[in-house]
Protein backbone atom coordinates (compact mmCIF):
# COMPACT_ATOMS: atom_id res chain seq x y z
CA UNK A 1 0.00 0.00 0.00
CA UNK A 2 1.34 3.42 -0.93
CA UNK A 3 1.22 5.90 1.91
CA UNK A 4 1.97 9.61 1.70
CA UNK A 5 2.76 11.57 4.84
CA UNK A 6 2.81 15.35 5.02
CA UNK A 7 4.41 16.58 8.23
CA UNK A 8 7.13 19.11 9.06
CA UNK A 9 8.05 17.58 12.41
CA UNK A 10 11.03 15.24 12.16
CA UNK A 11 10.14 13.27 15.29
CA UNK A 12 6.60 12.68 14.06
CA UNK A 13 7.90 11.44 10.72
CA UNK A 14 10.24 9.03 12.46
CA UNK A 15 7.41 7.70 14.64
CA UNK A 16 5.18 7.11 11.63
CA UNK A 17 7.99 5.44 9.74
CA UNK A 18 8.72 3.02 12.55
CA UNK A 19 5.05 2.30 13.16
CA UNK A 20 4.46 1.43 9.49
CA UNK A 21 7.49 -0.84 9.43
CA UNK A 22 6.02 -2.92 12.23
CA UNK A 23 2.54 -3.56 10.89
CA UNK A 24 1.35 -6.59 8.92
CA UNK A 25 0.29 -4.89 5.69
CA UNK A 26 3.28 -4.08 3.53
CA UNK A 27 3.53 -0.34 3.09
CA UNK A 28 5.56 2.01 0.99
CA UNK A 29 5.98 5.39 2.69
CA UNK A 30 6.76 8.72 1.09
CA UNK A 31 7.21 11.87 3.13
CA UNK A 32 6.78 15.53 2.19
CA UNK A 33 7.58 18.27 4.68
CA UNK A 34 5.01 20.98 4.12
CA UNK A 35 1.79 21.87 2.32
CA UNK A 36 3.43 23.47 -0.71
CA UNK A 37 5.69 20.48 -1.24
CA UNK A 38 2.65 18.21 -0.87
CA UNK A 39 0.64 20.00 -3.56
CA UNK A 40 3.65 20.14 -5.88
CA UNK A 41 4.13 16.42 -5.46
CA UNK A 42 0.48 15.49 -6.00
CA UNK A 43 0.09 17.61 -9.11
CA UNK A 44 3.24 16.26 -10.74
CA UNK A 45 2.45 14.07 -13.75
CA UNK A 46 3.15 10.36 -13.79
CA UNK A 47 3.26 9.78 -10.02
CA UNK A 48 1.52 6.80 -8.44
CA UNK A 49 -1.23 8.29 -6.29
CA UNK A 50 -1.18 7.15 -2.65
CA UNK A 51 -3.79 4.77 -1.24
CA UNK A 52 -4.00 7.11 1.73
CA UNK A 53 -2.64 10.51 2.72
CA UNK A 54 -1.77 11.38 6.32
CA UNK A 55 -1.96 15.11 6.74
CA UNK A 56 -0.73 17.14 9.69
CA UNK A 57 -3.05 20.06 10.37
CA UNK A 58 -0.27 22.42 11.43
CA UNK A 59 2.34 22.85 8.74
CA UNK A 60 4.30 25.89 7.57
CA UNK A 61 3.68 27.61 4.20
CA UNK A 62 0.33 25.90 3.57
CA UNK A 63 -1.85 24.41 6.33
CA UNK A 64 -3.29 20.91 6.29
CA UNK A 65 -6.79 22.32 6.06
CA UNK A 66 -5.94 24.38 2.97
CA UNK A 67 -4.39 21.32 1.36
CA UNK A 68 -7.47 19.27 2.19
CA UNK A 69 -9.82 21.74 0.53
CA UNK A 70 -7.54 22.04 -2.50
CA UNK A 71 -7.21 18.27 -2.94
CA UNK A 72 -10.95 17.71 -2.63
CA UNK A 73 -11.60 20.32 -5.32
CA UNK A 74 -9.39 18.50 -7.83
CA UNK A 75 -11.04 15.77 -9.81
CA UNK A 76 -8.09 13.41 -10.13
CA UNK A 77 -7.15 13.69 -6.44
CA UNK A 78 -10.61 13.75 -4.88
CA UNK A 79 -10.75 9.98 -4.27
CA UNK A 80 -7.59 9.71 -2.19
CA UNK A 81 -8.66 8.93 1.38
CA UNK A 82 -7.30 11.63 3.69
CA UNK A 83 -6.41 11.11 7.33
CA UNK A 84 -6.00 14.36 9.24
CA UNK A 85 -4.18 14.36 12.53
CA UNK A 86 -3.92 17.03 15.10
CA UNK A 87 -3.51 17.59 18.79
CA UNK A 88 -6.92 19.28 18.88
CA UNK A 89 -9.78 17.05 19.93
CA UNK A 90 -12.61 19.59 19.83
CA UNK A 91 -15.80 18.10 18.40
CA UNK A 92 -16.36 21.24 16.31
CA UNK A 93 -12.89 20.98 14.72
CA UNK A 94 -13.42 17.33 13.98
CA UNK A 95 -16.80 17.87 12.38
CA UNK A 96 -15.56 20.82 10.34
CA UNK A 97 -12.69 18.71 8.99
CA UNK A 98 -15.10 15.96 7.96
CA UNK A 99 -17.43 18.40 6.27
CA UNK A 100 -14.47 19.72 4.27
CA UNK A 101 -13.90 16.20 2.97
CA UNK A 102 -11.51 14.42 5.35
CA UNK A 103 -12.15 10.70 5.79
CA UNK A 104 -10.28 10.07 8.99
CA UNK A 105 -9.60 12.28 11.98
CA UNK A 106 -6.84 11.20 14.35
CA UNK A 107 -6.44 12.71 17.76
CA UNK A 108 -2.69 12.36 18.18
CA UNK A 109 -2.14 9.67 20.79
CA UNK A 110 0.32 10.35 23.59
CA UNK A 111 2.64 7.39 23.21
CA UNK A 112 4.20 5.32 20.47
CA UNK A 113 2.35 2.10 21.28
CA UNK A 114 -1.03 3.81 20.94
CA UNK A 115 0.02 5.53 17.69
CA UNK A 116 1.10 2.24 16.20
CA UNK A 117 -2.18 0.60 17.11
CA UNK A 118 -4.16 3.50 15.67
CA UNK A 119 -2.20 3.49 12.42
CA UNK A 120 -2.55 -0.26 12.03
CA UNK A 121 -6.30 0.02 12.47
CA UNK A 122 -6.53 2.81 9.90
CA UNK A 123 -4.37 1.08 7.33
CA UNK A 124 -6.39 -2.13 7.73
CA UNK A 125 -9.76 -0.43 7.31
CA UNK A 126 -8.44 1.65 4.43
CA UNK A 127 -7.28 -1.57 2.79
CA UNK A 128 -10.83 -2.96 2.96
CA UNK A 129 -12.16 0.19 1.29
CA UNK A 130 -9.69 -0.29 -1.54
CA UNK A 131 -10.09 -4.04 -1.96
CA UNK A 132 -13.82 -4.47 -1.38
CA UNK A 133 -15.17 -1.65 -3.50
CA UNK A 134 -16.69 0.22 -0.55
CA UNK A 135 -18.02 3.73 -1.04
CA UNK A 136 -15.17 6.08 -0.10
CA UNK A 137 -17.50 9.06 -0.01
CA UNK A 138 -19.03 7.71 3.17
CA UNK A 139 -15.72 6.65 4.69
CA UNK A 140 -15.62 8.53 8.00
CA UNK A 141 -13.55 7.46 10.95
CA UNK A 142 -12.80 9.44 14.07
CA UNK A 143 -10.16 7.77 16.15
Amino acid sequence: MHILLADDDEDDCLFFKEAFEDIKIKTNLRIVNDGVELMNYLTRTGIKLPHILFLDLNMPRKSGLDCLVEIKSMKHLRDIPIAIYSTSASEADIEDTFVKGANIYIKKPGDFGALKKTLEQIVTINWQYHTSGLNKEHFLLSI
Partner: protein, 189 residues
Amino acid sequence: MKLYVKFNVTATCKKVLQEQLDKFQLKYDLLGFNEVEINEDISPAGMKKIVDGFSQYGIEIIDRPKNLLIQKIKDAITELVYMEDRLPVVKISTYLSEKLGYGYGYISNLFSEVTFTSIENYIILQKTERAKQLIITNGLTITEIAWKLNYSSVAHFSNQFKSATGLTPTAFQRIINKRREALINVEID
Protein backbone atom coordinates in the same frame (compact mmCIF):
# COMPACT_ATOMS: atom_id res chain seq x y z
CA MET B 1 21.51 -53.58 -4.60
CA LYS B 2 21.35 -49.87 -4.18
CA LEU B 3 20.19 -47.48 -6.84
CA TYR B 4 21.05 -43.84 -6.86
CA VAL B 5 18.78 -41.53 -8.77
CA LYS B 6 19.12 -38.01 -10.03
CA PHE B 7 16.10 -35.83 -10.72
CA ASN B 8 15.41 -33.33 -13.40
CA VAL B 9 13.24 -31.40 -10.97
CA THR B 10 11.43 -29.38 -13.62
CA ALA B 11 10.55 -32.43 -15.68
CA THR B 12 9.50 -34.42 -12.60
CA CYS B 13 7.27 -31.69 -11.28
CA LYS B 14 5.71 -31.12 -14.65
CA LYS B 15 4.93 -34.81 -15.04
CA VAL B 16 3.41 -35.08 -11.57
CA LEU B 17 1.32 -32.00 -12.18
CA GLN B 18 0.11 -33.36 -15.52
CA GLU B 19 -0.85 -36.68 -14.00
CA GLN B 20 -2.77 -34.97 -11.22
CA LEU B 21 -4.61 -32.71 -13.62
CA ASP B 22 -5.45 -35.68 -15.82
CA LYS B 23 -6.74 -37.56 -12.78
CA PHE B 24 -9.28 -34.81 -12.17
CA GLN B 25 -10.19 -34.85 -15.88
CA LEU B 26 -9.72 -31.15 -16.25
CA LYS B 27 -9.38 -29.24 -19.50
CA TYR B 28 -6.12 -27.40 -19.09
CA ASP B 29 -3.04 -25.97 -20.73
CA LEU B 30 0.37 -26.06 -19.08
CA LEU B 31 2.03 -22.67 -19.35
CA GLY B 32 5.45 -23.54 -17.97
CA PHE B 33 6.18 -25.86 -15.09
CA ASN B 34 4.38 -23.90 -12.39
CA GLU B 35 1.48 -22.32 -14.19
CA VAL B 36 -1.69 -23.93 -15.45
CA GLU B 37 -4.59 -22.43 -17.31
CA ILE B 38 -7.83 -24.25 -16.46
CA ASN B 39 -10.39 -23.96 -19.24
CA GLU B 40 -13.51 -24.66 -17.21
CA ASP B 41 -15.23 -23.59 -14.01
CA ILE B 42 -14.42 -25.53 -10.87
CA SER B 43 -16.89 -25.77 -8.01
CA PRO B 44 -15.60 -25.03 -4.49
CA ALA B 45 -16.01 -28.74 -3.68
CA GLY B 46 -14.07 -29.71 -6.81
CA MET B 47 -11.38 -27.21 -5.90
CA LYS B 48 -11.06 -28.74 -2.46
CA LYS B 49 -10.45 -32.20 -4.01
CA ILE B 50 -7.77 -30.76 -6.24
CA VAL B 51 -6.12 -28.93 -3.36
CA ASP B 52 -6.16 -32.14 -1.28
CA GLY B 53 -4.87 -34.24 -4.18
CA PHE B 54 -2.04 -31.81 -4.86
CA SER B 55 -1.06 -31.53 -1.22
CA GLN B 56 -0.07 -35.24 -1.11
CA TYR B 57 2.73 -34.31 -3.49
CA GLY B 58 3.62 -31.15 -1.62
CA ILE B 59 2.08 -29.06 -4.39
CA GLU B 60 0.39 -25.92 -3.14
CA ILE B 61 -1.80 -23.73 -5.28
CA ILE B 62 -0.87 -20.12 -4.73
CA ASP B 63 -2.69 -16.84 -5.00
CA ARG B 64 -5.60 -17.04 -7.41
CA PRO B 65 -7.83 -19.73 -5.91
CA LYS B 66 -7.37 -18.12 -2.51
CA ASN B 67 -8.38 -14.80 -3.90
CA LEU B 68 -11.31 -16.48 -5.57
CA LEU B 69 -12.51 -18.02 -2.32
CA ILE B 70 -11.97 -14.72 -0.49
CA GLN B 71 -14.15 -13.06 -3.10
CA LYS B 72 -16.81 -15.71 -2.58
CA ILE B 73 -16.74 -15.16 1.19
CA LYS B 74 -17.10 -11.41 0.64
CA ASP B 75 -19.93 -11.94 -1.85
CA ALA B 76 -21.77 -14.23 0.58
CA ILE B 77 -21.47 -11.61 3.33
CA THR B 78 -22.62 -8.81 1.02
CA GLU B 79 -25.57 -10.91 -0.12
CA LEU B 80 -26.61 -11.41 3.49
CA VAL B 81 -26.10 -7.83 4.67
CA TYR B 82 -27.76 -6.22 1.66
CA MET B 83 -30.99 -8.24 1.73
CA GLU B 84 -34.06 -6.19 1.03
CA ASP B 85 -35.95 -7.72 3.93
CA ARG B 86 -34.96 -7.79 7.53
CA LEU B 87 -31.71 -9.69 8.03
CA PRO B 88 -32.42 -13.29 8.99
CA VAL B 89 -31.20 -14.72 12.26
CA VAL B 90 -28.35 -16.98 11.18
CA LYS B 91 -25.16 -18.14 12.73
CA ILE B 92 -22.59 -16.62 10.42
CA SER B 93 -20.18 -19.56 10.73
CA THR B 94 -22.89 -22.03 9.69
CA TYR B 95 -24.11 -19.76 6.90
CA LEU B 96 -20.65 -19.38 5.37
CA SER B 97 -19.52 -22.98 5.67
CA GLU B 98 -22.77 -24.27 4.18
CA LYS B 99 -22.69 -21.76 1.38
CA LEU B 100 -19.03 -22.32 0.46
CA GLY B 101 -18.54 -25.97 1.32
CA TYR B 102 -15.57 -25.52 3.65
CA GLY B 103 -15.17 -25.71 7.40
CA TYR B 104 -15.45 -22.37 9.15
CA GLY B 105 -11.99 -22.70 10.69
CA TYR B 106 -10.41 -22.94 7.26
CA ILE B 107 -12.48 -20.05 5.85
CA SER B 108 -11.81 -17.83 8.80
CA ASN B 109 -8.04 -18.42 8.88
CA LEU B 110 -7.70 -17.92 5.15
CA PHE B 111 -9.72 -14.72 5.32
CA SER B 112 -7.57 -13.22 8.07
CA GLU B 113 -4.37 -14.24 6.32
CA VAL B 114 -5.27 -12.60 3.01
CA THR B 115 -7.33 -9.56 4.00
CA PHE B 116 -5.57 -8.64 7.28
CA THR B 117 -8.90 -8.50 9.06
CA SER B 118 -11.17 -11.11 10.64
CA ILE B 119 -14.49 -12.19 9.14
CA GLU B 120 -16.23 -10.82 12.24
CA ASN B 121 -14.68 -7.37 11.76
CA TYR B 122 -15.44 -7.47 8.06
CA ILE B 123 -19.10 -8.19 8.77
CA ILE B 124 -19.26 -5.28 11.21
CA LEU B 125 -17.69 -3.08 8.53
CA GLN B 126 -20.24 -4.20 5.92
CA LYS B 127 -23.18 -3.82 8.29
CA THR B 128 -21.96 -0.32 9.15
CA GLU B 129 -21.70 0.51 5.43
CA ARG B 130 -25.22 -0.77 4.93
CA ALA B 131 -26.43 1.30 7.88
CA LYS B 132 -24.77 4.39 6.38
CA GLN B 133 -26.53 3.75 3.09
CA LEU B 134 -29.87 3.36 4.85
CA ILE B 135 -29.31 6.57 6.83
CA ILE B 136 -28.41 8.54 3.73
CA THR B 137 -30.61 7.26 0.96
CA ASN B 138 -33.66 5.82 2.65
CA GLY B 139 -33.90 8.33 5.46
CA LEU B 140 -34.77 5.55 7.90
CA THR B 141 -34.68 6.33 11.60
CA ILE B 142 -32.05 4.77 13.85
CA THR B 143 -34.73 2.55 15.37
CA GLU B 144 -35.85 1.29 11.95
CA ILE B 145 -32.27 0.57 10.91
CA ALA B 146 -31.47 -1.28 14.11
CA TRP B 147 -34.54 -3.44 13.50
CA LYS B 148 -33.81 -4.03 9.83
CA LEU B 149 -30.20 -5.04 10.45
CA ASN B 150 -31.35 -7.28 13.26
CA TYR B 151 -29.54 -5.67 16.17
CA SER B 152 -30.86 -6.70 19.53
CA SER B 153 -31.45 -3.07 20.49
CA VAL B 154 -31.02 0.51 19.30
CA ALA B 155 -28.26 0.95 21.87
CA HIS B 156 -26.37 -2.06 20.54
CA PHE B 157 -26.59 -0.68 17.00
CA SER B 158 -25.49 2.81 18.03
CA ASN B 159 -22.59 1.44 20.04
CA GLN B 160 -21.36 -0.74 17.24
CA PHE B 161 -21.66 2.13 14.75
CA LYS B 162 -19.77 4.38 17.13
CA SER B 163 -16.98 1.89 17.72
CA ALA B 164 -16.62 1.24 13.98
CA THR B 165 -16.60 4.89 12.88
CA GLY B 166 -15.91 6.93 16.00
CA LEU B 167 -19.15 8.79 15.30
CA THR B 168 -22.73 8.35 16.40
CA PRO B 169 -25.22 7.61 13.60
CA THR B 170 -26.72 11.07 14.16
CA ALA B 171 -23.34 12.84 13.87
CA PHE B 172 -22.64 10.85 10.71
CA GLN B 173 -25.93 11.94 9.18
CA ARG B 174 -25.30 15.59 10.13
CA ILE B 175 -21.83 15.58 8.55
CA ILE B 176 -23.04 14.05 5.29
CA ASN B 177 -25.89 16.57 5.10
CA LYS B 178 -23.52 19.49 5.72
CA ARG B 179 -21.18 18.17 3.04
CA ARG B 180 -24.04 18.06 0.57
CA GLU B 181 -25.06 21.62 1.42
CA ALA B 182 -21.45 22.77 1.03
CA LEU B 183 -21.30 21.08 -2.36
CA ILE B 184 -24.56 22.68 -3.49
CA ASN B 185 -23.31 26.11 -2.37
CA VAL B 186 -20.09 25.65 -4.34
CA GLU B 187 -22.05 24.74 -7.44
CA ILE B 188 -24.25 27.83 -7.07
CA ASP B 189 -21.15 30.07 -6.66
